[in-house]
């Protein structure tokens, strides 16, 4: 076995969740590397999911993250990409499946985490839009901010988030209130979130998905008779959701 192959085998032995004894590697020595690697992934989860951790308590979260790490190898050399499947995991995991809002909270934290590291994009200049003849507005499609994300949740995600921030810790949460969210990164490079009014989640999701303004408006109206198109347009313009106009292909 050449040295490169041996190194690859060693890395595999370190990173594979379920390891079988292998005569090439001293079990006790390998255990040190496997431990470091596993604890590193668990600590990453604690950094990405601080609200889930507070919701469940340190001991429970640590045990939960151990189960996740055992079941989930890292698919990237970049640690920041580890933990994407955590929401799905807690939804299916026997001991967390009864906490209905937990998967959505995990999705929120993942979107905040990925949004923070998403690529930059200059917000669309209002003048650019204003300069386009009005009869063409409906057919426009946009490139959106990579950091933007819509969570169409039935749970009060904004309140649960606020409940766990230092400035608003312990504020009231009404678990019967649905709070779909828009997430974006502001000009100070911090992630922000805002609960959306009826129809706005469908409108924003359509725009982020690359539909025309006409189609997005129709999606908003279809989602709710209370949909306020002007408020929705102002929302995406003010928060820099739109970045550039897509050229017709």
């Amino acid at each position: 076995m050449n040295e490169t192959a041996w190194q690859h085998a060693l890395l595999d032995a370190i990173t594979t969740p379920q390891w079988q004894p292998d005569p090439r590697f001293d079990a006790a020595a390998l255990a040190v590397y496997r431990n470091n690697y596993r604890v590193g992934l668990m600590e990453m989860l604690a950094l990405v999911y601080p609200i889930c951790r507070q919701l469940l308590g340190d001991e429970f979260f640590e045990a939960l993250s151990r189960e996740y790490v055992k079941a989930t190898p890292s698919a990237s050399g970049n640690l920041h990409r580890y933990g994407e499947g955590f929401a799905g995991f807690v939804a299916a995991f026997e001991h967390t499946a009864h906490i209905g809002y937990l998967p959505d909270v995990a999705q929120l934290e993942w979107a905040l985490h990925r949004g923070y590291y998403a690529a930059d994009a200059t917000p669309l200049a209002i003048d650019t839009l204003a300069a386009i003849p009005q009869q063409h507005w409906g057919a426009l499609c946009f490139h959106c901010q990579p950091a933007c994300h819509v969570l169409d949740s039935q749970w009060p995600l904004a309140s649960i988030h606020a409940h766990h921030q230092p400035a608003t810790a312990g504020c009231a949460v009404n678990l019967h209130e649905a709070q779909p969210l828009l997430l974006w990164r502001d000009s100070d490079d911090l992630m922000q979130l805002l609960p959306l009014a009826p129809g706005q989640a469908a409108f924003c999701q359509a725009l982020l998905g690359g539909t025309t303004l006409d189609e997005a408006s129709a999606a908003g109206l279809a989602a709710s008779p209370e949909f306020d198109l002007q408020a929705a347009l102002l929302l995406v313009l003010q928060h820099g959701v739109l970045s550039a106009i897509k050229e017709p292909s």
């Binding site: 040190v32 431990n35 470091n36 690697y37 596993r38 604890v39 590193g40 668990m42 600590e43 950094l47 951790r53 507070q54 919701l55 469940l56 308590g57 429970f60 979260f61 045990a63 939960l64 640690l79 026997e94 001991h95 009864h98 906490i99 209905g100 937990l102 923070y116 930059d120 200059t122 917000p123 200049a125 209002i126 839009l129 204003a130 009005q134 009869q135 507005w137 409906g138 649960i160 409940h163 949460v173 009404n174 678990l175 019967h176 000009s187 100070d188 490079d189 303004l213 006409d214 408006s217 129709a218 109206l221 198109l229 002007q230 347009l233 102002l234 313009l237 003010q238 928060h239 820099g240």
Partner: protein
């Protein structure tokens, strides 16, 4: 799309453009971004005086699941029960 909705879009976007013009987001062009170091500790293998994270802690092989959630989920409106949707 109906003619009514088209008129709606034009008037709504005209108004939104006028309103957004006074409160548009500032482009972050003058800000220098330091990739990878902004969020405290995330890339920092040498945290807490150890040369690597794993040295601060030896993980155990939990074979039996016996943990109880003791965090804020038990206080937030005092329920862990699923809501009737």
């Amino acid at each position: 799309m109906s003619a009514t909705s088209k008129t709606l879009l034009v008037s709504a976007l005209s108004a939104a453009i006028a309103m957004a013009a006074v409160s548009a987001p500032a482009a972050a062009a003058d800000k220098e971004k330091c990739y990878g170091i902004a969020m405290a500790g995330k890339n920092d293998c040498a945290a807490n005086g150890h040369s690597c994270a794993g040295q601060s802690k030896v993980d155990k092989d939990g074979t039996e699941w016996k943990f109880v959630a003791k965090g804020s989920c038990t206080k937030m409106n005092g329920t862990l029960e699923p809501m009737k949707k």
